[in-house]
Amino acid sequence: MRRTYGDVVAVDSLDLEVAEGEVYGFLGPNGAGKSTAVRMLCTLASLSSGSAEVAGYDVASESSLVRLNIGVALQDAALDGKLTGRETLMLQGRYYGLERSAIANRVQELSPLLEMEAIDRRVSTYSGGMKRRLDLAAALMHNPEVLFLDEPTTGLDPISRAVVWEQIRCLNRDLGMTIFLTTQYLEEADVLTHRVGILSEGRLAAEGTPDELKRSVGSDVVMVRVAGDPEAAERAVAAVPGISQTEVYGNEVSAATGDGASVISPVAVALSEAGIEVRDLSIHPTTLDDVFLELTGARIEVEE
């Protein structure tokens, strides 16, 4: 899949597959091509070259079948301020050929997402968070097989974000909906997605489960603060199998390891056998932030 705007290559030879019932996350800095990729998959932008299939249909030649089976909430809520919330949803239902009674049912089913007391007010009076949630509800009206969310929680307050997260999880778990989302928040990808693709300059820089990606960058760090001799503590910790590297800063010993959770108790045992008084013992797991910086930061260095 490739998309160019004039001389600008927005998405370059992107090749990916998302399994049915999976939550797939696209991570990348601004301008990495996330939104362009989503727009291509939603039939809003044509492919400059290559091909893509969504829900089993080709986006170029069977675009109307793709459109029937997807629901999309874009980055900027695609709403008309002059319509009320209810009208937005009813029209959305009619576009997908739903019966009047089915539309009323769906509005009821989607009510947890909406603020029902405001549903008959015009959308232009809604707050940003209410608009985003109405937009999501509109995308869900026809119960799509595949849901595309372009930065679903950007600009939401923490409570709205939690509501949206819960809904996304619930849609995937209970209805088996395949969800493709993009985000700038690594925490969001970590919490919600089964698999993550990191996009940088229109290319897939890395792909895998959040845990795999974290492991690929390396290491959890086990920190020990001791009362006694840190050198002795370091010797004790370094002898534990699974510890790859140790360092001493003042009275703290830091030890790098592939899997912090599995070495923490051997470390504790080794320290107590060596008779070292431990003040503090903690694991600092790798976060997706580290992965992200490693992958996108490394690329910047190559260019310079």
Partner: protein, 147 residues
């Protein structure tokens, strides 16, 4: 907003999207356009006032002259449809299409299975309906109906 989660669709009544057909799409697009018309007063009022103003001005200024050039010409009967056309053009939903595109709602429409032609023809249908409603206000063109 509440903290309950989305209920699963009732079994046997799972909502499935289907194409609503060209005429269904046309009706959806046109009904939205007409429904929004009265909410768009800031664009409607000038669109009515301007042709009305020019109707009165041109009739007052040219009516007597026009009779001298073409005998038997009822200038008011000629000028009234012009005014109606101008009013309909001014109120045309073409403006709302521009608003939709710049406001992002058109993206949502493009992602629905709505027929591509219906997206535009629906707006024209709304304009046609508007014209049919406005036209009888000047029909039959009786010379006495306008000062």
């Amino acid at each position: 907003m509440s903290d309950t989660t989305l209920s699963e669709p009732t079994v046997g009544e799972v909502v499935r999207a289907r194409p609503s057909g060209f005429f269904g799409d046309l009706a959806s697009v046109a009904s939205r356009a007409l429904r929004l018309l009265p909410r768009d007063l800031e664009s409607i009022i000038p669109a009515i006032l301007v042709p009305l103003f020019f109707l009165l001005v041109t009739i007052g200024a040219i009516q007597n002259l026009a009779g001298d050039f073409v005998s038997g010409l009822d200038y008011k009967a000629f000028q009234l449809p012009v005014a109606i056309m101008t009013a309909v053009t001014g109120m045309s939903r073409a403006n709302s299409l521009v608003t939709d595109i710049s406001g992002g709602y058109f993206d949502r429409l493009l992602m629905t299975p709505v027929n591509r032609y219906a997206l535009l023809l629906g707006l024209m249908l709304a304009d046609l309906a508007l014209f049919i409603v406005l036209a009888p206000t000047g029909w039959p063109p009786s010379p006495g109906s306008i000062p």
